[in-house]
């Protein structure tokens, strides 16, 4: 093999690897560089859809049972008159729906969690960290927790699940619905049976109200508000938790174990 051939081969290899590296990164970074309104966020463990490709609507989302369909004029007319609670501002954080919060508003730490019911990492965070956090920090008045909906476009049933979550929150049933949706995530993400999953923990009377509530356009509007708020924080993955303390903001992306989080919260409280 001649020297010149080797030299050409080497330069070609190095150039190619550089181009590949730049290409791969620019493909995914382009999503982050786009205007926030069009960026396709992804789960922490990565979305199954390419970041730069908007996810097509899943057939099940459009062909699902009428109760899961997007609100229509007819359905709006039959929607119950349970108006979503007026959103308030807590510690400078706008649009806080009191139905989607836990703990005392006067808690020194405020944690906003942008979550997607169909995201496996969100499930892991909920099952592994959130419960202990609720018991030891929220219930003791140290943390005020806010749940934010951030349904990802790559997940076919995220939006539907978010609607059910929101509707259940209006009835004060968010905890049960959140738990059943996360615990049975693998099942309903295969079948799309969000309604059946939620119905398994609620009474028929509550389900009737929820089925009517999800048709209320205010539910979708509230989800959109959460999405817009997430974009202002540059949220592009779920779960993302924004920790507010004494005017400082600490964005935490992904799953955080309780052991690591509680050390951090204790350090914050000592400040």
């Amino acid at each position: 093999m001649s020297r010149s051939y080797l030299a050409r081969l080497t330069f070609a290899l190095i150039f190619l690897s550089g181009a590949l590296l730049v290409g791969c990164n620019s493909q995914s970074q382009s999503a982050d560089n786009r205007p926030a309104s069009s960026a396709a966020p992804q789960t922490t463990t990565g979305s199954t859809m390419p970041v730069s490709t908007p996810a097509p609507p899943h057939p099940a989302e459009t062909e699902a049972a009428p109760v899961q369909a997007a609100p229509t004029k007819a359905s709006q007319a039959s929607a119950p008159q349970i108006a979503p609670a007026p959103a308030s501002t807590v510690a400078g954080i706008p649009d806080v729906d009191p139905h989607k919060t836990r703990g005392s508003k006067s808690a020194p730490i405020v944690m906003e969690t942008f979550s997607d019911f169909q995201c496996p990492a969100c499930k892991q965070l909920y099952l592994g960290t959130s419960r202990q956090l609720n018991d030891n920090y929220v219930a003791t008045g140290k943390v005020f927790a806010i749940h934010r909906d951030f349904p990802l476009p790559g997940h076919a049933y995220s939006r539907i699940a978010a609607r059910y979550g929101r509707a259940a929150a209006q009835l004060g049933r968010l905890e049960q619905v959140e738990q059943v949706l996360f615990e049975n995530q693998e099942k309903w993400e295969q079948t799309g049976d969000v309604d059946g999953t939620v119905a398994s923990v609620l009474s028929p009377a509550d389900m009737t109200k929820i089925r009517a509530l999800i048709k209320n356009p205010a539910i979708d509007a509230a989800i959109e508000k959460d999405l817009a708020l997430g974009r202002t924080y540059s949220v592009n993955q779920t779960p993302t938790t924004i920790i507010h303390y004494k005017g400082q903001t600490y964005p935490v992306v992904g799953i955080v174990s309780y052991d690591v989080l509680h050390q951090f919260l204790d350090q914050l409280l000592k400040q």
């Binding site: 690897s17 590949l20 791969c24 463990t45 600490y250 989080l261």
Partner: protein, 172 residues
């Protein structure tokens, strides 16, 4: 008589190769240690962010299903710092042939693990390679193969050049 010029072809290749691979390894380490949670100040928050990021990376390592959960955590806490050390040593340029050998071996391990996962059709939603989450696909394998080929070539050239007297050494 000097047997090689200060900047012959092989030396140029090794220089460019080590700068490229060094920068890539430093970037890969930075991605794992400081992403996705990026907090630099105060110190305890920085420590928390690094811990959270390494725990996230451990989760990604676990999805490859080639080590246990405990070993995945151990590996996730060691690998980014090994990458950082190798990257910096390559950029510095001291005893390059040894660090290039290390990089080549590491890339062989990476490529083997990725190929195994690809062939087993494991659902890897983020290969954990760099800061931006990317699913494991054919392009990932091609890219890593190119890195490995470049590392092997640079290693070979570095050893060949090391056998020759240094062009600037005093004549004996």
């Amino acid at each position: 008589m000097m047997q090689s010029s200060p900047l012959n072809l092989r030396r140029t290749v090794v220089l460019l190769g080590r700068l490229f691979l060094g920068a890539t390894f430093v970037y890969a380490a930075y991605s794992k240690i400081l992403h996705p949670t990026f907090i630099l100040h105060p110190w305890f928050a920085f420590k928390f962010a690094v811990q959270a990021n390494l725990a996230n990376f451990a989760g990604e390592v676990e999805t490859f299903k080639f080590v246990s959960t405990a070993n995945a955590a151990l590996l996730a806490h060691a690998l980014p710092f090994i990458e950082l050390a190798l990257g910096l040593l390559l950029l510095i340029g001291w005893r390059v042939r040894y660090w290039l050998t290390g990089v080549s071996l590491l890339l062989i391990v990476f490529l083997s693990v990725l190929t195994r996962a690809y062939l087993l059709r494991l659902d890897i939603k983020d290969c954990g390679c760099f800061a931006t989450p990317e699913p494991l696909n054919g392009m990932t394998l091609v890219r890593d193969s190119v890195f490995l080929a470049a590392a092997l070539l640079c290693t070979y050239f570095a050893f060949v050049e090391a056998r020759k007297p240094h062009p600037w050494a005093a004549p004996s």
